[in-house]
């Protein structure tokens, strides 16, 4: 994203040529004083940007910088895209949701695979579809639980003045509201007949998320705060406004509780305001008897439930007759308190479905929509009718749309692509990745649309694309990357490749992390990837001097090439010096390399070689004849042993010169000397071959050896004859 520093200390992206809309401006609080000299932008984890703002270097304005003692720059983290509504969810809560939801997701996909195995054809049969739908419903419910259970602390003694629900332990989160909305429309088929009532319930839970100020909930919250200090509630216009608002969106229990706070219930005033109280109570009764087209009501909620349309219409007609009867009752004349009379009649108008009163009582278009569904068109069915109604309400009450309202509008316009895109914008990649299964649960059309392989997406489908986006977000965090494979493995086109890249990118410094990565490789049968990882771990450890661990990983990955390279290097080194300390090292290394190495001799040779070297050392320091003889014996043994590597012949022969030049007579007999001469001859021949390992020997080394051997042969022949 290109950016230029501006005077107003905010970053402004360049306007794109030909775009009709002005580019959005996001002010960035960096707290530095202008001018900003340089800006560096780099990607951090996920969709986090690191923006570094630097002030001019001090040499330009040295004096100034010293004066205000100001910092020279600042790095700011900017969270891009997604999660507009979800700014209040902490990072750890997000990770928690990721951990918990992977179980449900994996379970659903296991079921999908097993269902697909049972079926022979391409399409699922009817019973399988039913199973599938049930699994999806369970999945949806488990995800809903993960997003937060509304744990309510009910006080033992309820204060009559508390008409609003006590504040939930966890504030409702937008993601959950969006999830429930999708569940209502896409999965819960049994509820289709009472869809309007489901939406009423939904709004009750999430009304506060629509807008900060302009909602019924916010109106009631203000009233709740004030009500304890009000002496005569019925004189306050806020009381009647709140009542009308609560009634319009169908919070009947709140209405009943509020009405009971009316002053006429006061025992002191009861005698004077008997008629008034009768009217209030009559409205309470009518409100609590409101017919509702739904199978049941939760505890504490008011209304009378009707299961079938037929019964409901009958009940509704009867009830409306009662409501209009009360409206035209002669008792209103005897009600002396004017606000009470007006307020109650307003409530009756709302109950009768008067569009104007309803529009006045509600604040947001969605609330107006719900109240239309409740009082004016309770039998609205089908998305088209709802869509038209929603459009009408939006025109009547233009309010700022946010993620939730655009999501509802998208659902009603029956366009799954828009639904997913809106979700991604407002709630981030998590919900989209998980919602694809909801959207496709009952609709073959949507299933086709989202799961069709598309050439322009590299063979991936839209559903897979969203899954990959989510997996990428998971993979970018060191704590959640282990969750990503579960999603990548369900992506048939691109998932495998990305999974391999993800695994190969994991750090190899810590062996525990390597083991955890290998475990995932094992789970997804990625044998070659685990070999790669082990080789990388081996190289890292070897380079850092952890020879044991390095060799362990090479052996695990069966990396013959590197192991034999190590072995060759080892033997090269042995030829040079052989102090006790370094010998221990070699011995340890040989032991580690074990029999895996393709070098003849190995440990056995090394031990004999050391023994010989040791005894030779003693002789040089002035040893006895016996010691010299033993040394010679070891030399001959080494030379006779076919497992002695050829490259050790020359060092051995050079060492033998010391024995050959032993002062008190020849140590080697004729046959032994002949053996050494034979080896020397072989070596001279081998020297001509290009692959000969000569080491760093003096040019006349061979000649020296030959001379010493010849002298010794002469002495030995004399001695033996």
């Amino acid at each position: 994203m290109p950016g230029i520093p501006s005077d107003s200390s905010s970053l402004i992206p360049f306007a794109l040529e030909g775009s009709s809309q002005p580019p959005p401006v996001y002010p960035l609080q960096h707290g530095l004083r202008a001018p900003i000299h340089r800006i560096h932008i780099s990607w951090s984890r996920g969709n986090l940007l690191n923006v570094t703002c630097l002030r001019p270097p001090p040499d330009q304005q040295e004096e100034m910088a010293r004066e205000d003692d100001e910092i020279g720059g600042k790095a700011v983290e900017v969270l891009l895209g997604g999660a507009i509504l979800e700014g209040n969810i902490g990072e750890h809560k997000r990770r928690r949701i990721a951990y918990e939801s992977v179980k449900s997701y994996a379970f659903l996909h296991d079921k999908k695979i097993s269902l697909a195995k049972m079926e022979t054809g391409d399409n699922l049969s009817a019973p399988a579809l039913t199973y599938w739908w049930q699994y999806t419903l369970e999945y949806s419910k488990s995800i809903r639980d993960i997003l937060g259970n509304a744990r309510l602390h009910r006080p033992l003694i309820e204060d009559p003045k508390n008409f609003l629900k006590p504040e939930e332990v966890e504030q409702p989160i937008g993601t959950k509201a969006a999830w429930e909305l999708m569940e209502i429309f896409y999965v819960d088929m049994q509820l289709l007949s009472w869809l309007p009532e489901r939406l009423v319930d939904w709004l009750e839970g999430y009304d506060s998320l629509l807008s900060k100020t302009e909602t019924v909930h916010s109106k009631l919250a203000i009233l709740q705060r004030k009500v304890t200090s009000m002496r005569v509630v019925e004189d306050e216009p806020g009381y009647w406004n709140g009542l009308a608002a609560a009634l319009a969106v169908g919070w009947l229990d709140v209405v009943a509780k509020l009405l009971r706070l009316h002053g006429s219930y006061d025992p002191d005033q009861f005698d004077k305001r008997e008629t008034e109280n009768g009217l209030v109570e009559a409205v309470v009764l009518l409100v609590s008897e409101m017919p509702r087209m739904r199978p049941n009501l939760p505890n504490g909620k008011l209304g009378i439930c009707y299961q079938t349309k037929h019964d409901y219409i009958k009940g509704l007609e009867k009830w409306r007759v009662k409501v209009s009867g009360l409206e035209s009752s002669p008792f209103w004349v005897h009600c002396n308190h004017r606000p009470t009379r007006d307020g109650l009649i307003n409530l009756l108008h709302i109950l009768l479905g008067d569009a104007k009163h309803i529009a006045d009582a509600t604040s947001h278009w969605l609330e107006l929509f719900i109240s239309h569904l409740l009082y004016i068109r309770p039998l609205t069915n089908g998305l088209e009718g709802m869509g038209n109604l929603a459009e009408k309400c939006m025109n009547l009450k233009p309010s700022a749309n946010n993620g939730l309202t655009s999501l509802l509008a998208g659902i009603l316009s029956e366009n799954p692509e828009i639904v997913l895109a809106d979700c991604l914008k407002a709630f981030g990649p998590w919900i989209v990745a998980h919602a694809v299964d909801l959207l496709t649960a009952n609709s073959e059309y949507t299933d086709g649309l989202l799961n069709e392989e598309r050439y322009q997406l590299g063979g991936a489908s839209i559903g897979e694309l969203y899954m990959l986006v989510y997996a990428q977000a998971l993979a970018s965090h060191p704590l959640t990357w282990q969750v990503a494979p579960a999603y990548l493995s369900t992506c048939l086109n691109q998932g495998r490749g990305l999974l391999e890249i993800l695994l190969l990118r994991q750090p190899v410094q810590n062996y525990r992390v390597v083991l955890k990565t290998l475990e995932i490789c094992h789970l997804y049968e990625l044998g070659n990837i685990s070999t790669h990882i082990m080789k990388m771990a081996g190289m890292y450890q070897w380079k850092h001097g952890h020879k044991g661990l390095g060799i362990y990983w090479f052996q695990q990955s069966r990396d013959k090439t590197r192991l034999s390279q190590i072995a060759h290097k080892l033997f090269d080194n042995i030829g040079k010096s052989l102090s006790d300390d370094s010998f221990k090292q070699w011995e340890g290394l040989m032991e580690l390399l074990g029999s895996d190495v393709g070098i003849a001799g190995g440990l056995e040779f090394l031990h004999k070689y050391r023994e010989f070297k040791r005894s030779l050392q003693q002789i040089v320091n002035g040893g006895t004849v016996e010691a010299a003889k033993k040394s010679t014996e070891l030399l001959v043994q080494l030379m006779r042993n076919p497992s002695t590597p050829q490259r050790f012949w020359l060092p051995l022969l050079l060492d033998s010169v010391k024995l050959l030049e032993w002062r008190s007579g020849p140590l080697l007999g004729v046959s032994e000397t002949n053996l050494l001469l034979g080896k020397l001859q072989e070596l001279s021949m081998a020297k001509l071959r290009p692959d000969f390992h000569g080491g760093e020997l003096k040019p006349n080394a061979l000649g020296d050896v030959r001379l010493a051997l010849a002298k010794n042969l002469g002495r030995a022949i004399l001695e033996e004859s």
């Binding site: 809560k93 928690r96 282990q482 062996y511 001097g545 952890h546 020879k547 661990l549």
Partner: protein
């Protein structure tokens, strides 16, 4: 494959931590009502002490953070012990330092850091993978590192002495260490071998066990060791490929397999992934005095189980994520605390109902 255990007798509570937890250890508690646990958290690296009330009427007592102390890098090993009526915690880090803290046993506040050693030359260079403190007499802390060094740290009244037992120049990487007696300890590392060391005989291990896992088809690492104070000659080992075996010093050539595809191919694999920690379980009754005592293990694939020789494993937990560490409360062996990969800590109480009925 395994008995899932009688879950009804368990009370298991999960506590979300919102940060990754490496290791967990119970702390000796003074009051039966207030229990303390230490845990090493990884980002940012620190030691934390949490408390919870075990007698509260609330069936889900919350873990409350009491105090925390930052570490220079992530902790690799954690142990708690009592010395001269002090409650102490020792932690080693991935940059080769050792830290010992004293903790107020009444409220769990970390009072001070009494020791902090970090020296690339004379101590460790690279991660210290395991530490163990000898508590019965000397109070010496053995440290074993990936750099192939084994050090003993003597915590004296006024000074700290540190001397090297082994320097392998990286040829061996040690991953586990455990004291068997005041003078003997066992180390384990890469490959299935174990080394038995005696302080009185310096220069090298006094006994070595060289096993071949899965007939040479599988090799692995040792992640954890435990020695029971009443059976100092037997060492129980947990490592790669779900292997849990016991090694008896008196029969050095053969180990007893408790679980895993490990040493003998005939044994049934219970878990096939890494066994991160093993500990003798004093709560499970012993079947026969001639057999290995019951052992609890936790694994990368989310199992917490009790293993017994020639018996089916009893599975206590099956989590969807790895169990990185666990600890059995020495004072109340029925209680187990576990650290889960997904930023949470679980507390499992076994047999609570039975005691209530009695």
């Amino acid at each position: 494959m395994a008995d899932s255990g009688d879950r009804r007798r368990f009370i298991y509570n999960l506590h979300e931590q919102s940060k990754p937890v490496g290791a967990v250890r119970w702390l000796p508690s003074v009051s039966p009502f207030l229990r303390l646990a230490a845990m090493s958290v990884l980002s940012p690296p620190a030691i934390e002490i949490h408390s919870f009330s075990s007698q509260s009427p609330n069936p889900n007592p919350d873990l409350n953070l009491v105090s925390s102390y930052p570490l220079p890098s992530s902790a690799t090993s954690l142990t708690s012990f009592k010395s001269h009526n002090y409650t102490l915690i020792a932690a080693s880090t991935s940059t080769g330092s050792l830290h010992i803290f004293s903790v107020n046993p009444y409220d769990g506040k970390i009072e001070s850091q009494i020791i902090s050693i970090s020296d690339k030359d004379s101590f460790h260079c690279g991660p210290i993978q395991s530490i163990d403190v000898e508590t019965s007499s000397t109070g010496e802390c053995a440290t074993a590192g990936e750099d192939g060094r084994v050090n003993l740290v003597l915590i004296g009244e006024d000074k700290v002495e540190n001397f090297r037992v082994c320097e392998s120049d990286g040829l061996v990487a040690y991953t586990a260490v455990k004291w068997g007696s005041p003078v003997e300890f066992v180390t384990g590392g890469v490959g299935p071998g174990l080394q038995w060391w005696d302080k009185r005989r310096p220069g090298g291990p006094v006994a070595q066990f060289k096993g071949v896992w899965g007939h040479g088809t599988v090799t692995g690492m040792i992640h954890s060791l435990d020695i029971h104070p009443s059976r100092k000659h037997t060492c129980v080992v947990g490592g790669s490929s779900g292997a849990v075996y016991a090694w008896d010093l008196r029969w050095q050539q053969q180990a007893i397999t408790l679980a895993g595809t490990g040493l003998e191919a005939k044994s049934q694999p219970f878990s096939e992934s890494e066994v991160w920690e093993v500990k003798y379980d004093a709560f499970t009754p012993q079947v026969s005095s001639t057999k290995v005592l019951p052992v609890m293990m936790c694994s990368e694939d989310g199992f917490l189980a009790v293993l017994q020789q020639d018996e089916r494993p009893v599975q206590l937990l099956e989590e969807p994520c790895a169990i990185n560490s666990f600890d059995i409360d020495p004072q109340n062996p029925s209680d187990v605390i576990v650290a889960l990969e997904w930023e949470s800590v679980g507390i499992l109480s076994r047999g609570r109902e039975e005691t209530e009925m009695a």
